[in-house]
């Protein structure tokens, strides 16, 4: 292996660069939140948080938190000039009604036709929890997935068919991983970019889905 996987920050930066000026974007919990740090200064991108905010700003300085003002990850936030506050049902309308341009989501698995599994495994020890995952995945105009390409033991997470419970079917637009950027079009997966030094055969080996180069 002579290739170098991207760091999480490098993946996040790649996603941030693919966002366009003026877009309304929801960043899911976990890896996707990293994207906020790399939003280009020359673009005005409005971040939505499903608990009821458009125009999420940076984290507050210690001691300057508003105890009521949090994001969907339950972390303290600030508001940008132009921000607005609304109630939960109105906030979910933005997702469910197709008003959010891009949702950046983490994933446990993605299938080659764009099915997303990101809310539950088949481990039933812990109670299930879904939050806004399905509303975002089904509702946003584009779904960008940001994930590490395989499990820690090398198990492929990009598959022909997901084995974990689905969040939504045929919704993923693009998958950004440490190894590649993959576009889903018409039920097939296309490799847009690979990490420097990575060969096609290596990528295929680490991917359970059929890839088109």
């Amino acid at each position: 292996m002579t290739f170098k996987p991207l760091s999480k920050e490098e993946i996040a930066k790649k996603v941030a660069n693919d966002l366009r000026d003026g877009q309304y974007v929801n960043l899911g919990i976990g890896l996707p939140t990293l994207v906020a740090s790399f939003l280009p200064d020359d673009k005005e991108i409005v971040l939505h948080s499903e608990n009821g905010v458009l125009g999420v700003g940076p984290r507050p300085l210690p001691g300057e938190e508003d105890i009521d003002l949090i994001d969907a990850g339950k972390d303290f936030i600030t508001l940008k000039p132009g921000a607005s506050i609304f109630h939960h049902t109105d906030s979910f309308i933005m997702m469910r009604g197709g008003h959010i341009d891009v949702a950046v989501l983490g994933a446990l698995q993605v299938s080659q036709k764009g099915d997303l599994a990101n809310w539950a495994t088949n481990d039933e020890t812990y109670p299930p929890a879904v939050g806004g995952a399905m509303d975002l995945a089904s509702g946003a105009k584009k779904i960008f997935v940001i994930m590490i390409h395989t499990g820690k033991d090398g198990t492929p997470k990009i598959l022909e068919e997901c084995t974990f419970p689905l969040t939504a079917t045929e919704v993923v637009t693009t998958v950004y991983t440490d190894l590649a950027t993959l576009d889903v079009k018409d039920g097939q997966m296309f490799v847009r970019e690979m990490s420097p030094g990575l060969s096609k055969s290596e990528l295929i080996k680490m991917t359970g889905a059929k890839l088109n180069f």
Binding site: D21, G82, S84, I85, M95
Partner: protein, 221 residues
């Protein structure tokens, strides 16, 4: 940079084309986007379907579209106000199609289009002429009828104040259909009396967040 402010009414209504479905805000004379409507008349489109609560009175506002005979269908709840002479004339001569809805079904169907609701059951209209031929379902011992969303190509509304992100506040009851229509239009154009700098509107007081707004044009009362 986000700047939804456009310089002319012509630009604000540029998405209204022949055959379009157009939501038009206002109730009575309150909150009618008169300037945007005038720009549609000036543009000279035809075969519009309009979704709006009243049919206007006299020659202005919604009535001016009817007078121009550029509306093939109106979806409305109360087209018979004092002075709705143009609607009466077109209706009697069979030149306009009317879809009459209970006002609450009208506004809820508009919301549904913006909210991603596929359809909803309501008891309103059941057992009346406005429930004829609608799919029914018994829910909790009460008959309900199925109502579908009212989608539109363009929404034209008026508000009091906007910023360049398209955030809106309204003026008292001129708010009426604005917030729901803004959500439901593929493109939403708003005429406003004031434009303020970003950050001047209190986030908790904004009624329509800019995400639902595409074009803002400043007009005089």
């Amino acid at each position: 940079m986000i700047n939804k402010i456009v310089e002319s009414l012509t630009e604000a209504v540029s998405d209204v084309e022949d055959g379009c479905t157009v939501l038009i805000g206002g109730f009575g004379n309150s909150g009618i986007p008169n300037n945007l409507i005038a720009a549609v008349v000036a543009k000279g489109v035809k075969d519009l379907t309009i979704i709006t609560n009243n049919a206007g009175s006299g020659d202005s506002g919604v009535a001016s579209l009817l007078k121009q005979r550029i509306v093939k269908k109106i979806v409305t709840s109360y087209p018979r106000s004092r002075g709705s002479i143009w609607f009466e004339e077109l209706y009697k001569s069979g030149e306009i199609e009317l879809e009459l809805l209970p006002q609450g079904n009208l506004t809820e169907k508009i919301r549904a289009a913006g909210a991603g609701i596929g359809a909803f059951y309501t008891p309103i209209g059941v057992g009346t002429l406005l429930g004829k031929d609608k799919e029914q379902k018994m829910i909790n011992g009460k008959l309900h009828q199925l109502e579908y969303p009212l989608f539109a190509d363009v929404a034209l509304i008026s508000a009091k104040t906007a910023d360049r992100w398209g955030n809106l506040v309204y003026s008292t009851t001129a708010r009426n259909f604005g917030p729901s229509m803004a959500m439901a239009g593929k493109v939403t154009a708003v005429e406003v009396l004031n434009i303020v700098d970003l950050g001047q509107l209190d986030p908790e007081v904004i009624i329509t967040p800019g995400i639902f707004v595409d074009k803002v044009v400043k007009v005089k009362r």
